[in-house]
Homo-oligomer: 458 residues x 2
Amino acid sequence: MSEQGKEMNEAQLNVHLLELLDLEAIDDFRDEFLEMHPYDQAKFYMLLIPEQRQKLYQFLSPEEMAEVFENLEIPEENYQELLSEMHPTFAADMLGEMYADDAVDVLNELDKEQVASYLTIMDGESAQEIKDLLHYEEDTAGSIMTTEYVAIRSHQTVRSAMQILRKEAPDAETIYYIFVIDEEKKLVGVVSLRDLIVSDEETMISDIMNERVVSASVADDQEIVAKTMRDYNFLAIPVVDFQKHLLGIITVDDVLDVIDEEASEDYSKLAGVSDVESMNTSSLQSAKKRLPWLVILLFLGMMTASLIGHFEDTLNKVAILAVFIPLIAGMSGNTGTQALAVAVRGLATGDIEREGIWKMIMRELGTGLIVGTSCGILVTGVVYVWQHDFFLGLLVGISIFATLIVATLAGALVPMLMHRLKIDPAVASGPFITTLNDLLSILIYFGLATTFMSYLQK
Amino acid sequence: MSEQGKEMNEAQLNVHLLELLDLEAIDDFRDEFLEMHPYDQAKFYMLLIPEQRQKLYQFLSPEEMAEVFENLEIPEENYQELLSEMHPTFAADMLGEMYADDAVDVLNELDKEQVASYLTIMDGESAQEIKDLLHYEEDTAGSIMTTEYVAIRSHQTVRSAMQILRKEAPDAETIYYIFVIDEEKKLVGVVSLRDLIVSDEETMISDIMNERVVSASVADDQEIVAKTMRDYNFLAIPVVDFQKHLLGIITVDDVLDVIDEEASEDYSKLAGVSDVESMNTSSLQSAKKRLPWLVILLFLGMMTASLIGHFEDTLNKVAILAVFIPLIAGMSGNTGTQALAVAVRGLATGDIEREGIWKMIMRELGTGLIVGTSCGILVTGVVYVWQHDFFLGLLVGISIFATLIVATLAGALVPMLMHRLKIDPAVASGPFITTLNDLLSILIYFGLATTFMSYLQK
């Protein structure tokens, strides 16, 4: 990545800006600062100590601070602190100047009373827009949409549409799609700015608009909206209620955040960590988040231990059996996690629904058979060479063969079952499947060993 | 998701189109088909059997088929088959009509000779554009950029810029950013269409262009480009060489694909599966992809087994020790995977570099201590109640305490070490860290048991 034009690099520029801020050289500071991209402004803001931030609030208008806030990337719990540093009127004005969807993201982190007090100070129109958006449930299309879109009527001409666009351009979140509504505010079409600029000025919007508008319903899951926008390469998608009234739009930049967020959520779940854990989470908070999972797994592990306890007789007679416990349990955990990840991804992409569950199960069974046979033969050989005991080798080999097949199927079936039960399959984490497969593999291994005990005792 | 205007739903529309295709009602078919969004056209295309596809190639122009191909979502190895069904000239013309970056994605899946033969038949300009792009290494900015952008000069007026835009709109991949170059084709600025339409027609581009252009270098990793575009909310980013010559642009729709791709790659790696595995991969192919990992883990597991073998004396004396092997190994694997996921994500987001490696290690050490102490005390109690043996309970509890701390640190340190060694930390999968932690936990458990043997024998 590089930035052209000015030869000062980012670090030098930040140092220079800090000097200007400390010198209270307001005009020079504003000249330099306002020329930066809002994302870089936000990065600069995060470098400041509280006293410097106070100066910044003096130097910038609420509207200018709004752009900084829209681009902040900080843990959500920190918004409260930053807002409380500002004069309440400044904070309320700033929130009012932000795009409504971004303001809602910030307000969702505050206490109810605080939100109410900011909304009271804020100008009426912004407050109403924000209030409307605050109602929508988290992770729905409604919760990420914004109401700052451009809408026109189908009997207008391209010329008058362009006039509206020019007027609304400073406030609208995107001007590259213009939505066409009827007298009841129902969505009837869409025109891109591309279409507008290549059309004759006297053309009617109804002649060039696309009537087959793909839209999101306000209650749709944000992940589905993201997938649709990705599939259709949309820069924005309209959001409608059940009567097809246009309520807002979702722009591609919000969808980038959604995709990123959902992916890192799935990733964390696979490992059994809550996704809200970041570098700034304290040890105690992290431990609190990880412990519930670990305690559940601990009790599952205790079940495995008590299962082995039932085979104590077998173990007392042939102590060497204990040597292969971690190998067998570990291998079943590993294959299970592999199958799990493929299944969760298949469910997320919709591949499994498309291809059918049976196809998926047969595929995993086949994979388990091949993997189990290969590893089983390999293990039989290695144990025989190492322990000079063919029956022991065969026992461990057959156990590996059987557990890998069972573990592969378990890894594939558990997320499918969860999907059927309308539980997010990503909750079936690696640690859970691993501990479940520990249990199954011990049962198979000691079951076989106890049955064929006579061959093992020499 | 819903589609307005026409009342026919997607399934009905597809059935209707299939009828028109079978009836060879070319005009009616084209009327309906060309009104669909290209993504829906692509979904329809995937429903067809080979004979129906042949008809489609007769009904549509190469240019119309190009839009279908740009929106196909099929396993990459299938492109070869579809192209070979077409007349070579039709296929070459279609590839030439596609956006150059999409055409390159398809051509990358074909044999060298086939690519050469298509490029020979194709019109000269398209062939040259594609040849230029084929050189770039996979996963770099160069490999995902397109050359269909709009460039102007700084001494032009807004009016003349708009004229160029209108002319290039049908071919350019985006017209919402216009790039400003000097006489040597070096990038000197950027203007958005938003800026153009709100400016007076006689304004000089140099007066409204932004000279601080954030650009990507042609060799940059695609993941970094995606992160930059997401941070800055760009719809497109220019790609330059080391002398700042403008080579191409990357649009946000390609970046959506990159983010999705990279996220599912990391997810698969955490589980120890190759990311190219999909529902359409056969069992044999899946097994081939999973086996190498499993065989490595098998030998690591054998090391654990041989480690326990060294403690056979201890085991022969106190067989009950074997009962807790899966519990201790399992718990260390689980905590290790949790720490691993947090570390890999921290490295991916750049959080760790920003906050410092020491902070991260101290944080994980703290978390390990809390988690280890809690689980250790819990286990001591449970084992004491179950086995009525306080020393056994204490041994298992202390082992859990020690292994959880070690496992948490191992989970955090292994990806950091890989990052330092310039290996992608996402390669450190859950199964790997689990198996490594098996080894460490067995060493701690049996080491302690052997040392304090006298307390355990009654």
